[in-house]
Symmetry: C2
Subunit: 277 residues, 2 copies
Amino acid sequence: MTAGSARAFVPGHVTAFFAPHSHENPLRAGSTGAGFTLDDGVDVTVTPAPDTAIQVNGTTLNMDPVERVLSVLDATVTVEAQTPLNIGTGFGVSGAMALGTALAVNAATDGDRSENELIRIAHRAEVEAGTGLGDVVAQARGGIPIRLAPGAPGYGELDGIPHPTRLEYVSFGNLSTPAVLSGDTSPIRTGGQAALAELRETPRLEKLFELARIFAKETDLLTDRIERVIDDVRAEGGEAMMAMLGETVVALDTGLSDAGYDPSVCHTHPGGATVSP
Amino acid sequence: MTAGSARAFVPGHVTAFFAPHSHENPLRAGSTGAGFTLDDGVDVTVTPAPDTAIQVNGTTLNMDPVERVLSVLDATVTVEAQTPLNIGTGFGVSGAMALGTALAVNAATDGDRSENELIRIAHRAEVEAGTGLGDVVAQARGGIPIRLAPGAPGYGELDGIPHPTRLEYVSFGNLSTPAVLSGDTSPIRTGGQAALAELRETPRLEKLFELARIFAKETDLLTDRIERVIDDVRAEGGEAMMAMLGETVVALDTGLSDAGYDPSVCHTHPGGATVSP
């Protein structure tokens, strides 16, 4: 690591179902819902530099939420991210980039922001950029987060399912979060709220997968290709679901391998985003 | 692991300063304050058995908070804990035992309690047993927790200092948490509240150590032996503090080694208590 630089790791986050919640205060806006954080995530290194530049796996990109975080923290740095996850396929990479940048900039500049303050900055940046609603708070927490109430620390409320597990995933392509969130979200809100109420009654893994499948179908977000893969996994006795929002299937344990796919393998992330020592 | 058994890991927790907060509802009772969670912690294995028995490092003990957790969860099990930490020396071992037992029993019985429910059960058990006020919620969170508002999930509120670090510690003996908490706690409350207000202004490691030293002195909890060790560390340019409540000194990084002591070495725990996969 270059002198003056700092690193943070942020787990990926796959949403199983969600209900968007808009509010004029971006710290109160967000979503309720549930999903998995993954030990496949994003490693973010920031280094003071004459000009800001953002790279993911070596490719220079514009990333609105990251630029917003840098602006709030008044930082001019290079942001270099390494990740096995693809942007736009439902793993919360933009949220991870925003949160990882906030944590790493604070560490690199010997800043004195608390964790909640840095999470609030990243959450606000995602909400204002329209790139996500609930990833940042879930990624800060780790585990299998249930988002009980929307919004950043101080407003939102989280719980979790205490069952660490192996997961497998395959991605076929992108779905645009801004495009979905700017359309008619009332069926999503209704479906997401119903799923959350049921998961709170029975906070179990199998229930989470079942509710995710119902949600994907009822909201018309399920694609034919994803439906076929989920059916294949279930035919072998496995549990699988679609990642919101991406053309991605996530299966419990060895579900995709058992059905003959060649998936990426990871585990739920135990503890959420951290500055790297 | 025996069939039907399950394991959980709970980090140790060292309190730097605290303000006790009593309430007739044990979920609202607790403490505000700040401290460190440690990757030295307690590994708890529970196994269904005809009779309940609780062992720590092979020695059978009565532990009121653990028995309360088992009673709420209606579990008859052996609880076997392994830990490098000593009970009564300020590392939150009783809180770790209570929370680890709750998490492991839920996993062993394929229970469907959420993480917040299990934390609430353990927090309540500690408060009712009089063995602790803020360890459980801090241990569930990990990192360097700041307890902004007292109580279990749903009532309490947490933040954290985003600076993972190496720590060293030496322990000379026990202080009784129940004895201190059943005495006149008003100087502790006043000192703890003042320290918290100041830490919220400047959530930094050096500030946490400084406030801990002031708190230990002003509350008369500081012993002569602990004061000498802290002075030795500071004479070498290090940061050190007394653990609340134990005759234990915790130093930043290599503070105790630099002063010629032979300390135990650990790091802040990144993510808080988890069921072991």
